[in-house]
Symmetry: C2
Subunit: 354 residues, 2 copies
């Protein structure tokens, strides 16, 4: 049974829950991955039981995973279990390939994007995809993004930085301007976390550095003045509730107010830019979600789970549901309406089982 | 006029505001600093007007500063202006000297600690000091901490890490155990921020990496299981509201619940350790302070300003005052009572103008 809910009028489809932050990783062997890179390319080692496996980076295990990551049938079953009407999937960031030659990454991205569409073909009404792009070559990245949109992708996912270049890098800003002009929504996902050689245990890079990377990518756009040059039409969303951003915005505003070098390239108070981007709801704590809503507004938050990873929301949508200070209109916005707008999702098509 | 408030009984001194996070930097010349290191030691270049200056690191300007940093008379005037009864000063972290030979740093720390006491001598009732220690040599650090306590210091301040070693390093844990056994309160201050060569502008290391360093230092004690080995009597406080810790605690709890490698060395849910440490109130946003209070409890937060730096609270105590959801008992705890207990401050002595 599809959990799509139909209102009295057959023309209106009321979406209850769209999960806009979910990952996939296709079943590609080490031999197939070698086309990207013989030594370091990521691939999937599925265990004999077919249920579990490892994402591998070359010969090194990277992360234990299970079947919902590559099998859309199990994904759909889990969506049913959680009452998710529609899920938007994107690459696992280790698939980005930004560190390899751009032409190889472009071919790889096209292949991964095709595999994402294949994954979604299991139920085109309930599964949508974001494309990956060869961000190390902005021109190729723009072309890949536009092609992906034409072939049915609902936006792109990019990493929060590119080696030493943060999002204020002029080439990356040009890519974002392209996405604004072509109405291609962008999800920014942290990856390649700074650690300075520390944080070797307990997943500290995921607990400390990932949220810092996301905060850094947002502040790079704000404090550089990049948001002044990027069209307001850009739809850009940051994963994990924007990382540490919301909690530290007061510290940033105070620094902007009190230090010339903080406001050198940013003409307006940093907090005045919160209407230029979105965040997902993956913050795992009702108090944190409350602060996030105070900072961003319920119009700027979208349900996102990080499914099917263990560091994702295990009971998708429970955090929003368990927030009594959100009224039903706010919940509807966060659970579905914001994502429908952000990702240009055609609900009429959904009604027709498209 | 001293803002110390006396109640009806002469024995009772009601402290209204204790600012427990404030920095000093003594007037030391480059020649004097050369005893620590000829090239890299920090010193103070005061401008001709005597009002402003630069903290220098060798020949490089590090930060513009003003007279309240080294002149206790101006500090006391500013405390009057903000209604601060008592301020606890500590070194500016660039003074730590952890990167130099331990014996030199021990001598330097002793000198800086004497200068801190000299600064406080301007009004012994209203100014108290935390000592610095040569943390790179745990035995020397323990000895320096005990000597400093005997000479009138109210605790120690340490950096949030020591090169590649976070607070779970066994030598650093031994130092903390010593402080617990000797009833020496510890303030942990972020410094030496990870940047991976990025964050070159807009004070991003202070806005992104500093709060991440503080979160990392707290998680290092929790996830390593160090809090299980350290006596519960340890009084330890983390600056800047614990950095990103409070906002990300839900993410950490979820990771601990769902990944074996996160809970490998930590027997209990990470959030269950919040009763093992304190934080200051320097979060610059009422929503952030509200979340901080929900996570830590009003018993675990102490007014701290980062005075007299531009990234400190400019109107000391205003954030707490402007938080209507804190009742007057909570405010009293945050503004003064918690710090009186934490730093073992003898209020009777205060009454006698000690």
């Amino acid at each position: 049974m599809s959990p799509l809910r139909h209102a009295a009028s057959r023309e209106v489809c009321i979406m209850k829950k769209i999960d806009m932050h979910a990952h996939f990783f296709p079943r590609i062997s080490q031999a197939q991955a070698a086309e990207l890179d013989q030594v370091q390319a990521p691939w999937l080692a599925v265990n004999a039981n077919g249920e579990t496996g490892q994402i591998m980076k070359g010969a090194q295990p990277f992360r234990p995973v299970y079947r919902a990551l590559w099998d859309p049938q199990l994904r759909l079953q889990e969506m049913d279990k959680h009452g998710i009407d529609l899920q938007i999937i994107c690459a696992t960031p280790i698939m980005f390939g930004y560190e390899f030659p751009a032409a190889k990454t472009a071919a790889w991205a096209e292949r991964m994007n095709d595999l994402a569409m294949e994954h979604c073909a299991a139920d085109q009404a309930r599964l949508k995809a974001l494309a990956q792009v060869p961000l190390q070559d902005p021109e190729l990245a723009c072309r890949t993004a536009s092609q992906a949109k034409a072939s049915g992708h609902h936006g792109v996912q990019i990493g929060s930085h590119l080696g030493a270049r943060d999002l204020d890098d002029e080439h990356l800003v040009q890519f974002l301007i392209h996405c604004a002009q072509e109405n291609i929504p962008v999800l920014v996902h942290p990856w390649d976390m700074m650690t300075d050689g520390r944080m070797k245990k307990w997943m500290l890079p995921w607990l400390v550095a990932m949220p810092a990377e996301t905060q850094l990518s947002i502040l790079s756009l704000i404090l550089s003045g990049a948001f002044e040059r990027i069209p307001e039409s850009l739809k850009i969303c940051f994963a994990h509730g924007g990382g540490s951003f919301a909690f530290l915005l007061g510290r940033v505003d105070n620094a902007w107010q009190c230090r010339d070098i903080v406001r050198a390239d940013c003409p307006r108070r940093p907090s005045s830019y919160v209407n230029r981007f979105y965040v997902d709801s993956a913050v795992f704590d009702t108090g944190a979600l409350r602060l996030l809503t105070e900072v961003m507004g319920a119009d700027r938050i979208m349900l996102g789970s990080d499914h099917p990873f263990p560091l994702g929301e295990q009971n998708i949508g429970k955090l929003v549901a368990d927030s009594p200070w959100l009224d039903s209109a706010d919940k509807q916005r966060i659970n579905a309406d914001n994502a429908l707008d952000f990702f240009n999702i055609d609900t009429e098509g959904l009604n027709n089982g498209r």
